[in-house]
Symmetry: C2
Subunit: 121 residues, 2 copies
Amino acid sequence: MTKNGKMILEIICSSEDHLTAEQIFLRAKERSPRIVLATIYNNLNALVREGHIRRIRLEGSPDRYDRNTRHDHLICDGCGRITDIHLDDISQELEKETGVSIDSYDLNIHYLCDECRNENT
Amino acid sequence: MTKNGKMILEIICSSEDHLTAEQIFLRAKERSPRIVLATIYNNLNALVREGHIRRIRLEGSPDRYDRNTRHDHLICDGCGRITDIHLDDISQELEKETGVSIDSYDLNIHYLCDECRNENT
DNA sequence: CTCTGTGCAAAAGATTTGCAAGGTG
DNA sequence: CACCTTGCAAATCTTTTGCACAGAG
């Protein structure tokens, strides 16, 4: 793995949030001021391809990147906040139900967080 | 609902595939030659907002649109083909596990279809 | 007559690509 | 020297927006 690749992976893994390429770019720039967005994207794609990180695709906002431990996402449709949740792995049930051999799955749950629910009252 | 909205909904519902905006545009043009891509997008957004259709966001290809019956997706990471599957609704279990009130969820299962699996042998 | 959807052109946003240069082995 | 990553600029692709007009109620 390259120096930039390592740095980007570190940035992602050390963040509690789900960062966009732009945000990662800004943080990377703090350490390596001459770095460019294209380099971020190159490395992000490589990291996703090699399974080190996950890409989260969202409505109306750029992709976000997340460490690749098995977990699922709660997405508030009000404020857009994403929360990691750790549900039991259901791969085996899914394989039984679908009859195919599963590589991975994405489970994104849409809801309204407490604040957003109260706002809409 | 507007005439174009109805037409677009019909195109989506009568297709077995998961169409891109572009594909929908081309089919809409067969019936209504002066229609424009922007109109397609406007209507698609409205239809998604009103819950008539679903948007499927994919890696490296434009969004696709799908009828909004409850179902999940098998996505082959080799050829990109999407297959609808009908699993038991797991909302209730998810609500129990997460403790929040769920509006909806997306479950996308990644695998390799038979052809792609054989190719990689 | 008013209001909303439409066609059109142009813009915006996110991501990718081509190429020359730089660093590493 | 050979190779691969980088920086940079420009391109590409998808989607959105502003505006004037047309059509429906």
